[in-house]
Symmetry: C2
Subunit: 275 residues, 2 copies
Amino acid sequence: MSNWKLTLAYDGSAFNGWQIQPGLPTIQGTLQQAIATVTGTPITPATPLPQGSGRTDSGVHALGQVVSIALDAPIPPQSLLRALNSALPPTIRVLSADPVPDAFHARHSVLRKAYEYRIFERRPEGSPSTEEICSPFLAPYVWDCRWPLTLDPMQHAAALLVGTHDFTSFAAADPDLSARSTGSAGPNPLKTIYTSTLTREQGLLIYRVTGSGFLHHMVRNLVGTLAEIGRGALTPDDLPRILAARNRSAAGPTAPAQGLYLVKVDYPSTSGESL
Amino acid sequence: MSNWKLTLAYDGSAFNGWQIQPGLPTIQGTLQQAIATVTGTPITPATPLPQGSGRTDSGVHALGQVVSIALDAPIPPQSLLRALNSALPPTIRVLSADPVPDAFHARHSVLRKAYEYRIFERRPEGSPSTEEICSPFLAPYVWDCRWPLTLDPMQHAAALLVGTHDFTSFAAADPDLSARSTGSAGPNPLKTIYTSTLTREQGLLIYRVTGSGFLHHMVRNLVGTLAEIGRGALTPDDLPRILAARNRSAAGPTAPAQGLYLVKVDYPSTSGESL
């Protein structure tokens, strides 16, 4: 057995999220099937599941999801990459395949994750009153936001998120969903945000955030709250109160899944490097 | 009744082409439904169908499909545009809605059409031997071509297509499909090509062609033949022979639908202008 680190990009539009579910197309299930095809090993209840750095929800995309999987078959990395890409649908691509030490685990070894959230502005700041039309080629990949957003207070609020905070107010309210991420004990709501910025680029507002880890729906709930600030329903000064409330209902709504991208997952250099 | 010209963009991925078909998602059927919703008129067998400048096949995209439709309801253009975009799925957008003279017909009045075909090169000319990976976000919108293409002879061949030719060799072999485009008489295979160019742009090969009209599958068959030239199976010198053969089997294969875009449809200024 040798341990592998796979880096994946996927268009989440046509999948019911990362986690394998019977009868539904998921990234994990599709990848497990492709691995079985490539290695010529039929799937049994004992077949190990490819482990992702974390789950992505239905509709969420990835530019650099990381997966670990132990494989029996000796296979050169470039051959594994090509064979997997032949077996996978074009909406999932393996960008790299690297042998890693046995101790490497895509979820347990995570050091830092980077997400990006893309907002299409129908009524960009300072534009004439006519609405922009969100291209059909862009629509599955952005949040088509119907109201004008003022950038400055959103940027100010984004910067206030940097640091270590209890993000309970930004975690999915659904107890089942929250519990899912670390089992019955529930996730640790204390997370450290390293960078948190909002920029206007090529007709989109892009929120970029890196952190030690993220609670379920956390980035989408942060963006939903930033959008409330952008339309003036909240101000950056409300953020400390929202964080302190430790209550989901204190923050803004959940931004739609299709604007969210898992961009990059970093690991300590000793566990994630190629051998 | 007033006559309208609508300009549409759509992502063809999720549709079974333009033409309405019972029980299948099509652009024409979806647009008819949206018009019925907006005008509050239930669809009956007597309801006029929106007329497109031509059919697009399953998977083919449009950046500027033109549609004509007569509507009973008096409605300001900007309101019609917004209402239709609210009623349509995000994968179909109305880019403009203009009142036009009764004589305007989106298909009968066509003066010139422009298409674009996008090819992703896994092994771009002059690149190292490793394959490029076609992004999952690009895959539904390009032909992921698996072999190296040499640009120069393809450009030479593209230029040879300009002029008036009998394009029978590039028309769909399926007699049902060919007859569809002008009824039982069959289409006139004599078409005039005004421009025909191939360029390498941002990692894609883009074929752009404008002409008086196009036979069914004609652009995809032209691209399939250019790709045969690009890989050396044919040369530009073969083109006159292929055209003269007036036989589909003389030309190259049909390039996949998802790389094709209907870009623009031009009309004589007297028939297509806003009132």
